[in-house]
Amino acid sequence: MTAADPDLQSFAPRRRFRVGARWLPYLLSLPALLVCIGILIPFGTAVFYSLQRYRLSQPWARQMNWGENYLNFMSDPAFWNTLQVSLTYAGLTVSLELLLGLGIAMLLRESNRLNNAISVMLLLPLMTAPALAALMWKLMTNPNFGVLSYGARLIGLEEFKWASDPSTAMLTVVIVDIWVYTPFIMILLLAGLRSLPKQPFEAAALDGVPPLFVFWRITLPMLTPYILTATLFRLLESIQQFDIIYAMTQGGPGDTLTVFQVEAYLNFFQSTNVGRSAALLMILWAITYFLSSIFIKNWLRLRERARGDA
C-alpha cells in the first residue's frame, strides 16, 4: 500500500520542488539503466551474429546468411543432441531436487533448535561456487584415490567411472547439481511451510484426519505457489547450466554433456563458429524468455503475498 500511494506526488511539497520531484525518479534510476543498456548492445550483436555465416578462423568468408544457421539445426544431429541433453539435465535435476527439497522441508518443518541448525548447515552447499563444487566432486570421484570410487567398489560396482564414463556422466553431474541446489528449493519451501496458517492443520488434527490426507489435501495445495516459484526458478537456471558441467567434464566424454551453453562455448572457442554459437544461444534465450515470463507472473503473486503479510 505504501508504494502505490497515489497521493505521493501531490504530497511532495511546495511549488519550487515540483520540477525536481518530477524528474527525480528518472534521475535516480538513470545510472543503473545506462549500465544495463550497455548490456543490450552485445545482445543485439548476438542476434546479428546468429544470422551470419561467421567463423573466426575464416573472417574473409563472413557474410549474412539470414536464417541458415537455424535451418541447419533441423538436420544437425549435434543440435538435437544438445536439446535432448539440456532437457534431460533440467528435467532430472529439477524434479529430483523438488522431491528431495520438499521431503527435507517437511522433515525440518517444526521449528526447533536442531532443525534450524540443520537448515543452516544445508545452506553451505548452496553457497559453494558451483564450479568449485564440481571440482570437489571431481576429487571425490577420482578413479585413483576418490573416496566415492572406493565406495562404488565396496558395493560391488568395480568399473564405475563416474563422470569419465558416457553412461554415468549425466548421473554424476546431476548428483553435483542436486548437492548444490536442493537446499535452494528446501529453504524456499521451508519458509513457505512455516508461513502457512495454523488453523486448517489444527482443525484436521482435531478431526483425526490421517497425515497423508492432510499432506495431499491441505499442505500441498497451500504450498503450491511456493513450489511453482521454486521450480520455475530452478528450471530457468538448470536449462542454462554451465559451471558444473564445464568444470566437471567440459561437455564430455564425447558429446554426452554438451548442453546449450557448453556447446555454444565450445563452438565459439574451439571450432570458432560464431554464427552457430550465437544461433544456439538465441534458441536457449527463447526458451528462457518463455519460462521467465511465466515465472515472473508467479513470482509477483508470491511477492504481493509476502508484502501483505509483512
Partner: protein, 285 residues
C-alpha cells in the same frame, strides 16, 4: 507432529541423518584432504587417520607448488586477490547505482517504472554467454579485455538486479510518512533520503550487498570468457589448477577450501536474510 509413534520418529531421525551426511560429507572430506600429503590421500582404503600437515596451504601461500614435475610457480593468492577485488568493487558499484534506483522504484510510480524494473530483472534470467561472447570480441576493440573495469561492469549483470529488487522490497516496507514529515519540516530531498530512508532500510541493504558479494564471488563463466590468467578469480583459477598436470591433490583441496571459505562464512553470518534474498524478495524468511 507431537504424538508421532516411536517408529516414525526413528525413521525421521534416520532420514535427517542421511540428509546431513549427503550434504556435509563433501565439504568435510575436502577439508580433510587439504591437510594431507599425497601419500596419505592415495592410500586405499581411504582413511581419516593421518598426521595433519600445513604443507599444502604453505605451498599455496608462497605460490610454489610441488608437483611431480618439480616446483611450479602458480600464483593462487593472486586469484584470491582478484576474487576480492572483483567482488568488492562490483558490489560497491551496484550499491551506488542500485540503491537510489531501488528507492525511486519503491517511492515513485513513474511512467515505465515497472517496465524498467522488469527489464533489469530479466537480465538475471538470460543466458550469460549470449552477451559474453559478443562482449569478448568487443572488449578486444575497446581495450577492456582482461581489465578489472571491464569485468566489474559485466558483473553488474549479477549484482544489480539482486540489489535493486531486494532493496526495493525493503523500501516498500517502510512507511513513507516519516519521510513526508521530514520533508515538510523543510529538509531537502537528499537529506531525507540520507537521514531517514537509508538508515531504515540499512539491514536490507547490507543483506543484499552480502548476497551480491556471494554471487559475484561464486561466478565462473564471466571471468572464464573475459579474463586471462592474471585477472582470473578463484573459481576459474582453481579449474586451471586441476587441469595442470601433476599437482598434488592436497594442494588442489587446500585451494578449494580457501576459495569457498569466504562465501560459506558470509552465508552463515547472513543466513537470516538468505531466504528473502535468494527468492529475490518473493519469500520472507
Amino acid at each position: 507432529m507431537d504424538h508421532a509413534s516411536p517408529m516414525t520418529r526413528w525413521l525421521k531421525g534416520l532420514a535427517l541423518t542421511l540428509v546431513v551426511i549427503f550434504f556435509m560429507f563433501p565439504i568435510l572430506w575436502i577439508v580433510l584432504m587439504s591437510f594431507q600429503t599425497n601419500e596419505t590421500i592415495l592410500r586405499m582404503p581411504p582413511s581419516v587417520v593421518f598426521t595433519p600437515t600445513l604443507e599444502n596451504y604453505q605451498a599455496l601461500i608462497t605460490g610454489k607448488l610441488v608437483s611431480s614435475a618439480g616446483v611450479l610457480e602458480i600464483q593462487f593468492m593472486r586469484n584470491l586477490m582478484n576474487s576480492v577485488i572483483l567482488s568488492v568493487c562490483s558490489v560497491a558499484l551496484s550499491l551506488l547505482l542500485g540503491v537510489p534506483a531501488a528507492y525511486a522504484f519503491a517511492r515513485h510510480k513513474f511512467r515505465g517504472s515497472e517496465d524498467i524494473a522488469f527489464t533489469l530483472l530479466s537480465f538475471r534470467f538470460a543466458p550469460p554467454l549470449l552477451v559474453l561472447l559478443p562482449l569478448a570480441l568487443y572488449f578486444q576493440d575497446l581495450g577492456l579485455a582482461n581489465t578489472y573495469i571491464g569485468l566489474i561492469w559485466v558483473y553488474q549483470l549479477i549484482c544489480l538486479p539482486l540489489i535493486l529488487w531486494i532493496v526495493r522490497g525493503y523500501f516498500e516496507d517502510i512507511s513513507p510518512d516519516v519521510e513526508h514529515a521530514y520533508r515538510l519540516a523543510g529538509h531537502s530531498w537528499f537529506s531525507t533520503f540520507r537521514r531517514i530512508a537509508l538508515p531504515l532500510a540499512g539491514p536490507g541493504i547490507a543483506a543484499a550487498g552480502l548476497l551480491a558479494f556471494i554471487f559475484a564471488w561464486n561466478n565462473f563463466v564471466f571471468a572464464l570468457v573475459l579474463a586471462s590468467a592474471d585477472k582470473q578469480p578463484v573459481t576459474v583459477g582453481a579449474l586451471a589448477f586441476v587441469t595442470a598436470s601433476g599437482i598434488q591433490y592436497g594442494q588442489i583441496a587446500a585451494g578449494i577450501v580457501l576459495s569457498i571459505a569466504p562465501t560459506l562464512a558470509l552465508a552463515l553470518y547472513a543466513q537470516r536474510y538468505l531466504v528473502e534474498g535468494l527468492s529475490l524478495g518473493a519469500v520472507k524468511g
